[in-house]
């Protein structure tokens, strides 16, 4: 049976004389591939004005054109260039994904540390987080947007709220484990103040799992933003985000499927790249944290 094979983590694949990068690639190909795809998309988003036309320019005479030399991805029902819109859409998705990952990791870290270290906070906070996690994230975000109104900022906040409890849970579980270790006990016994124990002894242990979790949060945020926009409860419709482009293509799907397929394809590739990066980092940073996720 194949399980008899000893897991070498690719160490045996290492060869003398090969560059460190090649070694890393041999051991964690998903990190390199996912990171490379993501890198390309980030560059495309940055240089969008150089490689794409005005995503908002309307040309009624050129409505619903299929793919050709001028309209690489076809045109939509107002004669706008789907290629330019898709390239600009990457900016929205990456901005939302990155912002949600950073914000929810930051708040999740603080709340999780407090819950894991201060017992009376733990009981209250975790009950609240359990309740928050019982509400399906997409629905909670939809409800928040419908109340607060559609804007990029509100979308980011609305996606952060259902994501934070997941980060809190992770940080809390790491904190609970670390606080029982002898070196923390030693720090307590020599009178280190709590904030010092948290910052110097506990936070460093949360970094690796947090990086991994942040990539998953990012992937999920990109998808939820697209879902919200697609359903009409997300980024304002005049902004070309992938979900908005797809939402506008819905009525024309039978005659102009490219309006949905190109942004949808880009969305799938982006999420795939982020997930590959996350899976690879999880194995690469610390094989033990794979169990906690």
């Amino acid at each position: 049976m194949a399980t008899d094979k000893i897991k070498t983590m690719g160490l045996l694949d290492m060869k003398a004389g090969r560059s460190r990068f090649a070694d890393y690639y041999a051991r964690h190909p998903t990190v390199v591939i996912g990171g490379a795809i993501l890198g390309v998309i980030i560059v495309l988003a940055f240089i969008a004005p150089l490689i794409a036309n005005d995503p908002l320019r309307i040309k009624p005479a050129m409505r619903l054109r299929p793919m050709d030399d001028t309209y690489w991805f076809g045109s939509d029902f107002l004669g706008r260039d789907v290629y330019s819109r898709t390239i600009y859409g990457a900016r929205i998705s990456l901005a939302v994904g990155g912002a949600v990952a950073i914000i929810s990791t930051f708040f999740g870290l603080i709340i999780g540390l407090l819950a894991g270290y201060v017992r009376w906070v733990d009981a209250i906070v975790m009950r609240f987080m359990d309740g928050l996690m019982a509400i399906p994230g997409v629905l909670l975000a939809i409800a928040l947007i419908s109340l607060a109104g559609a804007s990029l900022f509100n979308v980011i906040v609305a996606i952060c709220i259902p994501e934070i409890p997941r980060v809190v849970r992770l940080v809390r579980s790491v904190t609970l484990q670390i606080r029982e270790l002898p070196y923390v006990e030693a720090a307590v016994s020599v009178g280190s103040p709590t904030h010092k124990i948290l910052l110097k002894h506990i936070v460093p242990n949360t970094v690796a799992p947090l990086i991994v979790q942040a990539t998953y949060v990012c992937a999920s945020a990109v998808v939820i933003e697209a879902i919200l926009s697609f359903l009409g409860a997300g980024t304002p419709p005049e902004i070309p985000s992938w979900g908005n482009i797809m939402a506008e293509g819905r009525s024309y799907f039978q005659v102009a499927p490219w309006i949905i397929f190109f942004p949808g394809g880009m969305l799938a590739i982006t999420v795939l790249a982020v997930n590959m990066l996350g899976d690879g980092l999880r194995d690469s940073l610390d094989p033990r944290i794979a169990r906690r996720m």
Binding site: M1, A2, D130, M133, A134, L139, I142, S146, P257
Partner: protein
Amino acid sequence: MYGYIFRRLLATIPVMLIVALVVFLLLHLTPGDPAAIIAGDYARPEDIERIRKNLGLDRPLYVQFFSWLGRVLSGDLGVSIFSDLPVSKLIGQRLEPTIALSISTIIFAVLVAIPLGTIAAYKAGTLVDRAVMAFAVLGFSVPVFVIGYVLMYFFSLKLGWFPVQGYKPIGEGFWPFLRSITLPTLALGIVYVALIARITRASVLEILTEDYIRTAKAKGLDDANLLVRHALRNAAVPIVTIIGIGVALLIGGVVVTESVFNIPGLGRLTIDAVLRRDYPIIQGVILVFSGIYVFVNLFIDILYTFLDPRIRY
């Protein structure tokens, strides 16, 4: 064991209370006057005043919460602002397609994912394993509406095997029902298949390193029996757990899938309510969905005690 079930039942009460509190506070913590938010941009001052009166928004917050909670507990989810019909009735009307789609998706996902994951673990490290794992990552990454449109393009528009959109209730015959629900089930199910297959593979792989597996092999048990009776049975707890956790994913996906395939279920009700700012409906749907999620996971926790007699807290 009954003590455990009872304690577990009790533990759902605070969770549901918090859900109710969050759902209630959503409207009140959002910046701005709730009555004005509900009334929308074109409301006249007297409309806003009428809504404020109707919803009791002029009373203190805690009074509002407890009177609202009391009504919810007696099954009264309020009245739709747009249609003036009771929310519970509107939800009841839309429940069937959503439940049909969810159940067919769970059945499809379990039937496909568990064999896939088991085979991947059995053939760990081979091409089969890699293919299953690649599919799992891919299935987890392609959003449900993208899969939905791809399936619709090939199987409905190009091949004409299935209706493009719409839903036929099971009362109108099993065959039309099945045809209308096949593509939505596939679209919604793929992410779920990916999730369950991944966990199944990981759990079976871990069990396969146990001593009793080697013993079973040594006594000459064939691989099929070994996998199903020894490995899969012992891997049941994590697999069932992920099925329960995945219900959250399923609920989010249902809303989108119903929108893509034009299915008149709870998801469509929610989206229509969002577009009309019909807040009592949104509140009601979130409560119902969260309740379903909490109770599915309660059921699964209780199921543990039957699956694994060692778990008797």
